[in-house]
Symmetry: C2
Subunit: 208 residues, 2 copies
């Protein structure tokens, strides 16, 4: 089938039927030549992935059954890869986390975006890396903007609203990290360690 997947996705993003576009527009969007787009669209039409009416003024494209099925199959595959349980287990790690000081610097934004001011200390929880990646992928990330003071720069954070043993909390990941580590840092309005009576190595339940 050649490499028509990227083009098919690009088209689908514009709609599934009656897409008005041109080979030149598409070539710019996909950073390739007008000729390549033209050739690929002809191919895709021969493969019955799409149907077109093209003129010297541009073209109108419809994604056909076969094309939609192909995209759907891909969607399902990725869905399965990232699908996770609704909750995962983790073990409390020692230390209150060095995060306490940093947490205090983002309070206004936490209040605004997460709906609570955070207790100045993070709960460190050890999880299974694969599980935490999948778990997090299905949650909408909340971005906390970075800022600069006279002294130094505080980077952006990505937060995921979760519950720790049913207590509303949030996983906090520095944006430069970009991805969850095995050990995650959790904040909450309460002192989770006290409220939930947690000790090192105790297992907790992290849910959506």
């Amino acid at each position: 089938m050649g490499e028509n997947y990227t083009l098919l996705v690009k088209l689908a993003q514009k709609g599934l039927s009656n897409i008005e576009t041109s080979t030149i527009k598409l070539s710019k969007e996909l950073k390739t030549s007008q000729q390549t787009i033209s050739r690929k669209l002809v191919e895709m039409e021969n493969n019955e992935l799409i149907k077109r009416t093209s003129s010297t003024k541009g073209m109108v494209i419809n994604i056909e059954e076969k094309g939609i099925t192909y995209l759907k199959k891909n969607y399902q595959t990725l869905k399965e890869i990232f699908q996770s349980k609704d909750s995962i287990k983790g073990k409390i790690q020692s230390g209150i986390g060095e995060g306490g000081y940093y947490v205090s610097k983002y309070q206004e934004q936490f209040q605004k975006q997460l709906g609570f001011k955070a207790f100045p200390g993070t709960l460190n929880v050890k999880t299974n890396k694969e599980e935490i990646i999948k778990f997090i992928t299905t949650i909408t990330p909340i971005e906390i903007n970075g800022f600069t003071t006279k002294e130094r720069t505080f980077g952006s954070l990505i937060c995921y609203k979760i519950k720790v043993n049913k207590q509303p909390s949030a996983i906090v990941i520095p944006e430069r990290t970009r991805h969850a580590k095995e050990i995650i840092e959790i904040i909450s309005s309460k002192n989770l360690r006290k409220t939930l009576k947690l000790k090192d190595n105790v297992e907790v339940n992290i849910s959506k």
Copy 2:
């Protein structure tokens, strides 16, 4: 980046970390040569999509941050393409549908798989083609097997459990069609036309 997407997805299907495999196995699965897999894996490692430890006994692959982010981005894109509202509108079409006779032939399976015996007549509803495709994609399809009698063959059906104005029903699509048309056929335990007091061109709400 070349065409490494397919290979990355194949790897991800095996897991995100500590994937034990070999270039030969992968080449068979992806119907390409061992050499191509080897070259692509080297490329992907250079691009920091994966990390590997390879020996003469095979290899262990870990998908790295960049690779996971790349897959996630793709997943989100497809998700947006197929994401739909939880309900769509449709307009009642004239005619009871020729489906009445056929419906009666599948009753046992309807009872078993859908949980009801169907009123022998289908409700034809005109919808927006694009919306119905997206709506249906998020519902788990239920397959009704085809069968052959002395006289003729009855093909397989794909059903999607839905509600029409809150009344439990199912969209029925002959499998050979494979995809929703603009006009869909709906069955229910009740005579929907009577129960819901529907007339031609009246708008109905189709929900999950």
